[in-house]
Subunit: 436 residues, 4 copies
Amino acid sequence: MVPRYSRPAMTAIWEPEARYRIWFEIEAHATDKLGELGVVPASAAKALWDWWKTDPKIDVAAIDAIEAVTKHDVIAFLDWVAQQVGPEARFMHQGMTSSDVLDTTLAVQLARSADILLEDLDALLAALKRRAMEHKYTPSIGRSHGIHAEPVTFGLKMAEAYAEFSRARARLVNARAEIATCAISGAVGTFANIDPAVEEHVAERLGLAVEPVSTQVIPRDRHAMFFATLAVIASSMERLAVEIRHLQRTEVLEAEEYFSPGQKGSSAMPHKRNPILTENLTGQARVIRSYAMPAMENVALWHERDISHSSVERFIGPDACITLDFALARLAGVIDKLLVYPERMKKNLDRMGGLVHSQRVLLALTQAGLTRDDAYRLVQRNAMKVWESDGALSLLDLLKADPEVSAALSDSELEEKFDLDYHFKAVDKIFERVFG
Amino acid sequence: MVPRYSRPAMTAIWEPEARYRIWFEIEAHATDKLGELGVVPASAAKALWDWWKTDPKIDVAAIDAIEAVTKHDVIAFLDWVAQQVGPEARFMHQGMTSSDVLDTTLAVQLARSADILLEDLDALLAALKRRAMEHKYTPSIGRSHGIHAEPVTFGLKMAEAYAEFSRARARLVNARAEIATCAISGAVGTFANIDPAVEEHVAERLGLAVEPVSTQVIPRDRHAMFFATLAVIASSMERLAVEIRHLQRTEVLEAEEYFSPGQKGSSAMPHKRNPILTENLTGQARVIRSYAMPAMENVALWHERDISHSSVERFIGPDACITLDFALARLAGVIDKLLVYPERMKKNLDRMGGLVHSQRVLLALTQAGLTRDDAYRLVQRNAMKVWESDGALSLLDLLKADPEVSAALSDSELEEKFDLDYHFKAVDKIFERVFG
Amino acid sequence: MVPRYSRPAMTAIWEPEARYRIWFEIEAHATDKLGELGVVPASAAKALWDWWKTDPKIDVAAIDAIEAVTKHDVIAFLDWVAQQVGPEARFMHQGMTSSDVLDTTLAVQLARSADILLEDLDALLAALKRRAMEHKYTPSIGRSHGIHAEPVTFGLKMAEAYAEFSRARARLVNARAEIATCAISGAVGTFANIDPAVEEHVAERLGLAVEPVSTQVIPRDRHAMFFATLAVIASSMERLAVEIRHLQRTEVLEAEEYFSPGQKGSSAMPHKRNPILTENLTGQARVIRSYAMPAMENVALWHERDISHSSVERFIGPDACITLDFALARLAGVIDKLLVYPERMKKNLDRMGGLVHSQRVLLALTQAGLTRDDAYRLVQRNAMKVWESDGALSLLDLLKADPEVSAALSDSELEEKFDLDYHFKAVDKIFERVFG
Amino acid sequence: MVPRYSRPAMTAIWEPEARYRIWFEIEAHATDKLGELGVVPASAAKALWDWWKTDPKIDVAAIDAIEAVTKHDVIAFLDWVAQQVGPEARFMHQGMTSSDVLDTTLAVQLARSADILLEDLDALLAALKRRAMEHKYTPSIGRSHGIHAEPVTFGLKMAEAYAEFSRARARLVNARAEIATCAISGAVGTFANIDPAVEEHVAERLGLAVEPVSTQVIPRDRHAMFFATLAVIASSMERLAVEIRHLQRTEVLEAEEYFSPGQKGSSAMPHKRNPILTENLTGQARVIRSYAMPAMENVALWHERDISHSSVERFIGPDACITLDFALARLAGVIDKLLVYPERMKKNLDRMGGLVHSQRVLLALTQAGLTRDDAYRLVQRNAMKVWESDGALSLLDLLKADPEVSAALSDSELEEKFDLDYHFKAVDKIFERVFG
């Protein structure tokens, strides 16, 4: 976790104290049920909750000190709680294994993180929708291979991103369901020393599903799917960031990240206004994406479990969630405040001497009876001249002057092919599909 | 694609001829609708379908030869079809762009591949279920960290795999839906020269959903999610393969891959029977997993598209699908024919002198009034002696002889803690959860 | 391996026949030495080489048929050779294990592949050097963050790539040395049944180093380093490809991939000239890069070996080498034939109204006694006006008209700061560093 | 960075304060040279160094506060230093660009980190050598595919690891050289406003090489190679960790991680002694390995640079170095204190009823005149009986009783083939190769 790429609410989920709080709740809920089942005295859970109601401070350092001796984190925590609560605490953790606590805690942390990420996506979607509506009919050149193709609108770009992040949202909902399970099934998942009713009770109290069959741990394919989903979302984020970086290029300059008063673009070059936020997001996307690999390598634990997944998760659990939260929020801000330059879009659209309309002429020639191949050659030979003039020549003028073309299409027919609005007649339908 | 890791039905989907057949169908269906809309003569589609009904051979070499000149695959194909069909073919592809064909074709190929993979998963699930039922109560030692922990059954191991591959199946259903979309939206996705009704018609005929908003291409977050899902499934496959490799280790030997008559395990060592199928699967899992990375890097195409995704997909499209198909089928075969050795499982279970029952004694001591810490030390000091004797000593005997233990628990109380069936009382409930 | 991304010389190395030829040579060289040591009759090797001199065709299908029964490739091959050579062949492979042959063969294949890749790099370096010299002083705008910064020359861009691929070359030399080792050490690397002299002899004949200590296999950290190196080279290739893609963007158009007569850029838009070669290379770079992951996962084989690495290498061995060979050759061709447009570079350089000279003014103001902060603000306030005019205003004019600036710097002092050649005075020194 | 997986010396390199200290040194050394060249007053450097001699505390919070306004870290730092040093500080950074400082600083940090990692490798190599010598002739079963193969010694296992980490060391020396370069070349690498002599001076003072040609930044192929090398080293680390995990498995138990008094293996099962350190290392290897991917994606920066690499490096720079340092030190400790059980090794070696000697019999039969195929079948039919008896039968006895075998080999000839020392005759030669 890099502090500058973190936000407080998400970071709090991953603090040691938050983790211990969830541990306690799991143990206390379990003890409740164990008491109800008559396995432990009902007084045990009461003692735990009574102490909890005093809103005790979790003394992380003290727990760490115990762990330094026991080399076992859950035992250290149980010892510390026992010191606080007294002899009744010995009934805690009855029949459970450390991983019952650890894995269910991770499930809670990841589910809470997913909830924040869903809010982040909602904020991003809202910003995208607003800008899409604002620029629904702002003409802009569409590009393939970085080369001018045919007209689009800036609103369509935003609508595409909206559709993509809607898919991201749906995937994240699935991914959340993947990891929001509770396992309290004992040392090897057989419930040898604990009633499955305990698992069901704790799951219900924590808002988790019951893990149908666990080993010592919750199976890691669930987590792999979760982090793979985050990786795909990060990749979508990268796409939008790269789009903005392209739009801000000096020669393009159709949009710019908001540049605040007092901001300095470069220590050496006072004129610079750089798309540093989206560049920054591009790098973060690379990092979040890379976490999918160790998450997937974590799946093949040995037999009923080995603990190799744990060190991986200490990195990627907080880092993926915290960084993606930061990044999505940053991206929403970028979109929200993006400086959009319709005049410049128009200027770029016009700079190719009408080449963007070449396909319509091609189609018209075909419909006028030429073979596709002949039509293609006719348009291409004029288009190439415009291309080589860097937009100084006009495709329409050249076509009019080409006898083979004018034999097939009249001047007014040709002129009609150079109408910009022609390209936008389906925008409304597309918006309906995307925004409903 | 490695021929030895491929099966015919899946490979056929990815042959050039299959690809061209889908291209033709897309073009012909589109021409149907274009005729209906009056954009092209109705005779155009008829000419295409009439030719198609002759069941023409697709001349891949001829198309390649044209592409060598045009350097454009779709144009080469259209030219070749025009040569076969005659002048009516010039109405084909009206208002469409190459990617309309290419991307929709890829969607069809991936969807068909997913259908085969779903069948593969079903076969694997069936094998797992059968073996789970067969060994529902076959006792086996559960291991954490590679160290004996507490008893499980071999059926539980199979049930765990069943649950994991059920999740894999559900994920693949989602992933199939992600990529099964049709885009026929023109050069930059605006439907400038083609009615959205064409897209809707082709989608319906090919069993695809309509892509709500495309650029020149179908957005690559869909494909990234598809390949990421395959990567997670491959990781689950690796887990099961590694489990079998562990079980077949000489010192463990609780199960073995089927060893056919005439098979030679080693050119140098005639006694060898190696788990080569599951080792082979382990490697394949690594490869399939790695394809997720370039698939995710493909998402951030420039503006309305660049073509960098294409070379990636020429590798990972066929390779991921063909290899996973082969691997899942191989894994189903391994499970189906797995040699399972219950006697050896029993032998391993007993080899630790009863240490696997240590937790029950710990719990009993706690319930008899000792603190958790005292109970732990009492059990541990006896367990360590058994451990160091390599199972020659019996934990039960040592506990009976330990005055501090016997002060708390009678011999018969102790003996009751060493009952194997105690561990299997929840097996039925778990099976119900997993198999319904 | 994707046929369209392959070249014959490299592909030949990875054909089954080439593989079997190396197998034979290893076996025959080993038999030579075994004969010399008196372990087998000298006639054994003679029989092998006599047959070999008949230039026999390797019957891949026949060997495959035997493997279908034995399920062991080396045994199948030995059986087939024995059928050809007769009873003397039974002395072949004496004391060796399959991996002695397989791993040494892979070493030969990778070393030969590396030799071709080194030639590819040399061709690329030659092209880069030629274009660097040609455009040593062709002015071009340098960009950071995609935003105009200060002048560079196009030759410098080529020199940077030259330096980068020189490093790539040095890394590949190291990587070749990593994998060019020979192991003929028997079933677990102890030379139990074979004299180390055999290994030394075969190594010497094949131009390999002796593996100091092997298990059953050559350790896979060597291969991991090899494929990781290819991955880094692919990443450098991506960098140069992306540079060209940027330069070819419609709004930039400072360079273009060569566009051959008859080539069609788009089925729909006749005016398109797309950087498809470098986009294609970008995708190939992603794929080659991804192979580093399974190569690294291959390192941790179990004990003296498991065979999970093998299926991985059947993919990435040929695919990484063949694709990188193709890609480097393609890149060399792109550079060699790149259309470079100096006039357009000049036009782009001038389009910002002199903003690219802002730093020099900043420094001059500082040296004239202003604090850095004051100087920065003075320059920035004028630069921002030019920026917002989209280059219509001139920075020099504005600075001359700014009283605070003119208080510090005279008009002629200001003018001197706008000299382009000022930026190129170190080009010669840099070229000396790079090209020697 | 995960605090529990970090050590102070390495962590200190990556603290903000250490970073600012290097920044200052670069600026001050550069000012020295600028003064010497007459570009700035000689008093400027003196003022900087005079302040530095007061051993000032770097006020990270104050610098952060300035950055919150300027949104530019280097400018914030320069402003803060100027506040401390006074007006002479305005000559600092003359003609330089932020990246000159940032990239050269990263080079210093990575080089210092590499120095610590080299020490870590030396400590690991020393431990491996000591254990190799100690167990040079400790017999142990060699395994391929997890199946018993032929005898090795435990010392050989250590020698293999020694050889592998010697290669790791050599690679790290190369990787250090890759990144230990200094670039002070201005905004786009042209030295427009700074003499190359400054770069040379600073490089020499910091023990770095001069970057032959930079853009705004040091090219990222260098860093990619550095992190890829760390990833390969991590993979070797994983291999050794996995070996120990295997050896500690209950059924194998040939070695164990040191288990300290007071340590608790499991909260639930007091008898557990788990290989948690090497499991932990396995997970860390996965994480360090994954950092190679974003490092390689960082190579293709746009034109003369974009800043997307920066956020990646804020994660992987410290995380890869700190975690690998911790992990290598942990691994050295594991090897150093590893509990090795020669008796258990012997027991395992003997458990297969002599099957491990099967190859020698096969060879003897071949040399006695049988065809390889006949010999193989003879040995295999007896070996299979031993195999199925789980080692209860003796291969030697069965062979003696097999008339076809005894027709070819006498009892004493057979007995000679079952000699353990036969396998160790090359150990000394191998040790010479490895340890010199």
